[in-house]
């Protein structure tokens, strides 16, 4: 019954979008309750579908769009957990936004755009073919542009919106190229499609992966990775993410926790068989992810803007997810479950952290942590919920982040044993830094004494209630869902005609790592779920005990370091002294490795702009110049010739008579000479 309503998961937010857009300004709070209710409706439907299909079952509906393409809905375990997470977190964010955006003159516009954003993300998740996914992918990009630039009168917000749009566009072009390549390859296979099957549908793609040449697979995988890198803010296209903080904090929470940035990870997870089959595909994913995780974490250490700290943390955590997916080269399809678990858990505690930050900003009216301090005295609820979020992010034992991040580090170790230890080292270092910067932020904001005169009040309860709900999930989700989640997601690819053993042979994984990657797939698919989880539980004790407990030590150590450094310090904190301009390392981190200087000031403005100037000059002087010269010659000629048409009949007669005379003379002379 609920699966028949699947289209409403997108339909309801779209409806809310239309309503808010046209009549929002006449409704209280800009019609924000409509957006929240619509998303809540989507949540109910998703939950209904979950209860209907659990533990094994998918919803697949599709209809012809044109030619080889269809529009359709595909809800498998992978999509379903995303749907549940997005609808749940976004419902809370919308509820919170009802309080946060109260009084903003553009509230109706905000809620309309937020509803469309939600709809686009949900549509992206349960698209059943790559083309439709791409369309929603672009819609998400458009909405992020609108929302980041929500306060468009502020030049920095307008610039940040443009930056986000253009940066992700770089990735999207690669994504589109990958789709075209994939389509070409599939079309050239002359697949006989059954009724209801279309090219570019995920099941069809999975089923025919083995027939595509490996070199093409690698190209496609790299293109898809390019798209994911742009959307998920991985190095080197991460530059837009910290700037995206210019929007309202609820937008940051939405972009960073539930929607948008998770789309890239989701894409890689969705196309995991392709990445698995493509030689070097997953290696690239792991390299990008692990590097980004550490790179962003170091920048998070020095940022002063509370939202920028969280933004760098998001980039870093997304790196963890990517690296987790990348380690699939060693551990097979279970990497999807591990990465998705971190994605879901991360969305809970990151949404919580952003909303807490929003609550603090709402009261203090600044993003600068140097002007906060001692906020905890006045905002007890916010302080404790944010503590839960921070503990979860830092990976404190028994919190959600502990289970998910721990698992990624462990499979990174397996990847290390099988292939390369670099991602593992990077991830462990990043985990230490995560704990440090998280608690640096928490101590700086909530403890110590007030460093400026700010509003000393707690936020309204419409903002606190979502915080509490999210805090419960940020704490309990990992503990509660740990085992079942993996089993559920490991069953994801059983619904399709995909043989990981063959794919591993193409991708070159089986030969390098026979014990883990191949194993679950060697048995015919009959009981793969059991096999998969067994292989996983067998694999885990294979690690030495110190690998098992290392993440705990890392998290505790990080928190300890942060408290040593900051807990005492903030009591006698003097903002004027901690600018960090003198210390070269601090300065390097504070400036974000001079990325702005290198990428914007140097690369964009010098190289790209310079090249554009030269091209412009060639265009104007050479291409246009030749054309303009030619046309001016023609026009000048015509300008002179048109005077012949004087309109004076007498001139015509004169010409006529002269013509006759000339003719007569010529003919006479010709006769004389004897030509005629």
């Amino acid at each position: 019954m609920y699966s028949d309503l699947a289209y409403l998961i997108v339909g309801l937010p779209v409806l809310a979008f239309v309503l808010c857009l046209f009549i929002g300004r006449h409704l209280p709070r800009g019609g924000g309750f409509l957006t929240a209710l619509a998303t809540f409706g989507s949540l109910i439907i998703s939950l209904g579908i979950f209860t209907e299909t659990y533990p094994s079952g998918i919803v697949h509906q599709s209809m012809l769009w044109f030619d080889n393409f269809d529009i359709g809905i595909l809800i498998d375990p992978l999509a379903l957990v995303m749907l549940l997470m997005v609808t749940f977190v976004v419902t809370l964010i919308h509820t919170y936004a009802n309080g946060y955006m109260n009084g903003d003159p553009g509230a109706d516009r905000y809620f309309a755009e937020a509803a469309l954003f939600t709809a686009a993300m949900l549509g992206l998740i349960y698209s059943d073919n790559l083309l439709q996914l791409f369309i929603f992918w672009e819609l998400v990009g458009l909405c992020s542009y609108l929302l980041i630039g929500f306060w468009y009168r502020k030049p920095s917000a307008a610039a940040a919106a443009k930056k986000a749009f253009l940066t992700t566009r770089v990735g999207d072009v690669m994504f589109l190229a990958a789709i075209i390549l994939l389509y070409n390859n599939l079309a050239s296979l002359n697949i006989v499609l059954k009724p209801g099957e279309y090219l570019l549908q995920f099941p069809v793609i999975y089923a025919h992966l083995t027939q595509i040449p490996p070199a093409q697979l690698t190209l496609i995988a790299l293109g898809l990775l390019g798209g994911a890198v742009g959307k998920s803010g991985q190095f080197p296209l991460h530059v837009w993410l910290p700037d995206a903080m210019e929007g309202p904090t609820t937008v940051s929470a939405m972009i960073h926790a539930a929607t948008m940035v998770t789309a890239g990870v989701y894409l890689v997870a969705r196309m995991f068989p392709l990445f698995y089959a493509a030689p070097y595909g997953l290696t690239a994913v792991a390299a990008v992810g692990a590097f980004t995780a550490l790179f962003a974490a170091t920048m998070g250490l020095t940022a002063f803007d509370i939202k920028r700290v969280l933004a760098f943390s998001t980039v870093s955590q997304l790196g963890f997810m990517m690296a987790g997916l990348g380690t699939g080269a060693a551990v097979g399809a279970m990497a999807v479950g591990v990465a998705m678990f971190h994605l879901i858990g991360h969305s809970f505690f990151k949404a919580l952290l952003f909303l807490c930050a929003g609550s603090v900003i709402h009261a203090v009216n600044t993003n600068d942590m140097r002007e906060m301090g001692g906020v905890g005295k006045y905002m007890k609820w916010t302080m404790y919920t944010m503590l839960i979020g921070s503990l979860s992010l830092a990976g404190f034992p028994l919190f959600t982040g502990f289970f998910s991040k721990d698992e990624i580090i462990v499979i990174a170790y397996e990847y290390g044993v099988a292939i390369n230890f670099l991602p593992y080292i990077f991830l462990v270092l990043a985990a230490v830094l995560t704990a440090i910067y998280t608690f640096r932020m928490w101590f700086t904001v909530f403890t110590g004494k007030e460093r400026s005169d700010y509003g000393k009040h707690e936020s309204p309860s419409i903002m606190i209630i979502p915080l509490v709900i999210l805090a419960i999930f940020a704490f309990g989700f990992g503990l509660a869902a740990q085992g079942g989640f993996y089993t559920y997601l490991d069953s994801n690819f059983e619904h399709y005609d995909v043989n990981f053993n063959e794919l591993a042979a193409i991708g070159g994984h089986a030969t390098e790592e026979p014990k883990l990657a191949g194993e679950p797939a060697t048995e015919p698919s009959a009981s793969e779920a059991g096999e998969g989880s067994e292989a996983e539980s067998e694999a885990e004790p294979a690690e030495p005990w110190y690998i098992q407990i290392l993440p705990i030590i890392v998290a505790l150590g990080g928190i300890l370091i942060a408290s040593l450094f900051y807990f005492d310090k903030v009591k006698k904190f003097d903002p004027s002294q901690v600018t960090g301009e003198k210390d070269p390392l601090r300065k390097l981190l504070l400036k974000g490795y001079y990325q702005h200087e290198i990428m914007t000031a140097w690369f964009s403005e010098t190289i790209v702009y310079g090249t554009a100037l030269i091209c412009n000059m060639i265009d104007i002087k050479l291409v246009d110049g030749w054309l303009n010269w030619f046309s001016s010659v023609v026009m000048g000629f015509a300008q002179n010739v048109r005077k012949v048409q004087s309109g004076v009949v007498q001139n015509y007669i004169t010409a006529l008579v002269l013509g006759v005379v000339v003719l007569v003379v010529v003919i006479t002379m010709a006769k004389e000479v004897g030509l005629i």
Binding site: S646, G647, V648, V649, Q650, I653, V657
Partner: protein, 100 residues
């Protein structure tokens, strides 16, 4: 009998005078007169050839031509009067509403 050449000479002179007037004159009425000269020089030729070659066809054509000239003069002078009423002149150089 007057030689045929003289008729042709007369006709040529008349035609040349008419043509010259048509090209040089600005006055509308003078132009009409020049056109009459052109037509009549042709008529002289028609009648002369007709007389020298025992065949009345040429004279019949001359009659038609005279009728045509009369009609043309009627229409032409009507236009001239209309122009004069509109512009107060029949100097064709000053009437240039439809040309540049």
């Amino acid at each position: 009998m007057i030689p045929l050449e003289l008729y042709i000479l007369l006709a040529s002179i008349m035609f040349t005078i008419g043509l010259y007037g048509l090209v040089t004159q600005k006055n509308g009425v003078k132009l009409m007169m020049c056109i009459e000269l052109l037509l009549n020089s042709a008529n002289i030729n028609l009648v002369a050839f007709s007389a020298y070659q025992p065949n009345v066809n040429g004279q019949v054509f001359a009659l038609f031509s005279i009728a045509l000239a009369a009609a043309e003069a009627g229409v032409g002078f009507a236009i001239m009067i209309a122009l004069y009423r509109l512009y107060g002149t029949i100097d064709l150089d000053t009437i240039k509403a439809m040309r540049w």
